[in-house]
């Protein structure tokens, strides 16, 4: 399928051998948005949660301590940069690597929180992410075996979709879903959102949704 029918008119290409990086208004919007959010996250402090104490009139304040803040902020910035990379890459293997990196740093952002319920959620998300790396990389390998290239620009020119390519795309989709922790795997992630650290929570969710939108574009490029 033609790239321009999905993301709008082609703004430019960077040919690097058979890997051709390309830019459309869609990619530019996604890339710009994620960079803006990454900068805001980098310069923001975290909120303090105010919780009522059961059986009394007092309240408890829960905040992020400095060492935890530094670790989570660093990982959030890495997550933002990896997502930005995934938005503009024209190479399927690079995209898969960025998705794997996003999965790892998302687990890191959450596992820095010293709460049992949150660590439990991070552990389950980690298991799903690890298991999903097999269909993710396996799907990418099968796409390479079926088409002979990992360049999205070249794949989009292939007129017919073989059954193997269709199967590989399904595997790739399952891998991305697990790695980013979306439905039906999102239940493992939901507990993470109860913790303080709003800017870091934002990047977890933002990276997942942006990766899903880009994945839809890639799947349509391959199969449509």
């Amino acid at each position: 399928m033609d790239i321009t029918t999905l993301g709008g008119s082609l703004l430019g290409t960077i040919p690097l051998g058979d890997i051709v990086l390309y830019l459309t208004p869609f990619h530019l919007f996604m890339f710009g948005s994620i960079l803006i959010f990454t900068v805001i996250i980098a310069i923001s402090r975290t909120e303090t949660q105010v919780e009522a104490i059961f059986g009394g009139m007092k309240e408890k304040k829960v905040s992020v301590d400095l060492s935890e803040f530094k670790a989570r902020r660093f990982l959030a910035i890495v997550c933002g940069v990896a997502t930005a990379g995934a938005m503009i890459t024209g190479d399927l293997f690079n995209f898969i690597l960025f998705v794997a990196l996003i999965g790892i740093v998302n687990i890191g952002i959450v596992s820095a929180v010293k709460q049992i319920s949150v660590l439990d959620a991070a552990f389950h998300y980690g298991l799903i992410a690890m298991m999903s790396s097999l269909p993710l990389f396996g799907g990418g390998a099968m796409i390479l075996a079926s088409t002979g290239t990992l360049s999205l620009f070249a794949i989009s020119q292939i007129p017919h979709t073989s059954l193997m390519l269709l199967f590989a795309t399904i595997m790739f989709g399952i891998g991305v879903a697990g790695e980013t922790g979306i439905a039906p795997f999102f239940a493992t992630k939901a507990e993470m959102f109860r913790t303080p650290g709003s800017p870091f929570i934002l990047i977890i969710h933002l990276s997942s949704l942006f990766i899903i939108i880009r994945t839809i574009e890639i799947i349509l490029l391959i199969v449509a």
Partner: protein, 297 residues
């Protein structure tokens, strides 16, 4: 000479954007006012004037703004300004340039994230709970992307102008993919005020993610609400009922607003689990049925 034409084109484009953003805000506000009025009349109340939402939006820009001590600054302020900016982007991509549908859904994804993080950034437990519910409700909105894929498989394009051209030749998509239309309508219903699916703004959470935003910050939130309502209705009418005249859009938006108001007036807010499962069930039936219909046809 070229420079003169170039600058004239840029001027026209800028004017087009400003006019469309103003229309989105003004008409969106009036539609939300109409929504409240219809709901009130069904519930045998006189209800506020139709321009009340518009007046409220303006009023908050002149009210005193206070910031919670517990807020994540500057994230807390930036997030509502970004919310407004992304709906301006949606107006540019949609009504102004009729660009790629994928960008509109990129905007929608951003809107979801910004919406719930504006709640969690304040430190309020109500905002936080709204944020957690929004994460759950995002799972129910993922089928929206599947609707877009169905439209793409049917028309062969994501470009809004080309989708309109396709419909002018083959007829409105509401007749060829009716189930996908229903799934999209449920999404509109979930975004309407006092919706049965509006779990992020349930009254048990005061005002949900908006609870701790005051003054001009609330003004930005209300401005964004008006523009988002206008854009979502515009996208629905354009994808499924195009080509429409100006009057067609006007009537379509009023009718959909009235229908959602009637549904919301007679339906209580679901609990979070029921809300999500209802939306997911409708989506699975709608998307599966649409794919089946496309295979048979």
């Amino acid at each position: 000479m070229i420079q003169k034409w170039f600058s004239r084109d840029i001027m026209y484009l800028m004017a087009d954007i400003v006019v469309n953003v103003l229309i989105a805000f003004l008409f969106g506000s009036i539609l939300l006012g109409l929504h409240r009025k219809v709901m009130a009349r069904i519930q045998l109340r006189p209800g506020p004037p139709i321009i009340q939402h518009f007046l409220h939006s303006l009023k908050f820009f002149f009210k005193e703004t206070s910031f919670p001590k517990t807020a994540a600054m500057p994230f807390y302020v930036a997030i509502v300004v970004i919310l407004c900016a992304i709906w301006v982007t949606a107006v540019i991509v949609g009504p102004v340039s009729q660009g790629s549908l994928l960008i509109i859904f990129g905007v929608y994804a951003l809107y979801k994230i910004v919406e719930h993080n504006s709640g969690s950034s304040s430190g309020s437990p109500y905002g936080k709970m709204s944020c957690v519910r929004a994460v759950f409700s995002a799972a129910a909105e993922l089928p929206l992307f599947a609707v877009i894929a169905i439209v793409y498989l049917k028309t062969g394009t994501m470009n809004i102008a080309e989708i309109i051209a396709y419909q002018s030749v083959h007829g409105a998509l509401i007749f060829s993919v009716p189930l996908a239309t229903i799934v999209f309508f449920v999404l509109i219903l979930s975004k309407s005020p006092y919706s049965p699916f509006a779990i992020t703004k349930g009254k048990d959470l005061v005002s949900g993610y908006e609870t701790e935003h005051f003054g001009f910050l609330r003004g930005f939130l209300m401005l964004s609400e008006s523009m988002s309502w206008y854009v979502i209705l515009w996208v629905f009418l354009t994808i499924f009922l195009a080509p429409l005249s100006l009057v067609g859009y006007l009537v379509g938006m009023i009718v959909i607003t009235a229908i959602t108001a009637i549904i919301n007036a007679v339906t209580p807010i679901f609990n979070p689990n029921h809300s999500i499962m209802t939306q997911i069930s409708i989506a699975i039936v709608g998307i599966g049925g649409s794919l089946l219909l496309m295979l048979i046809a």
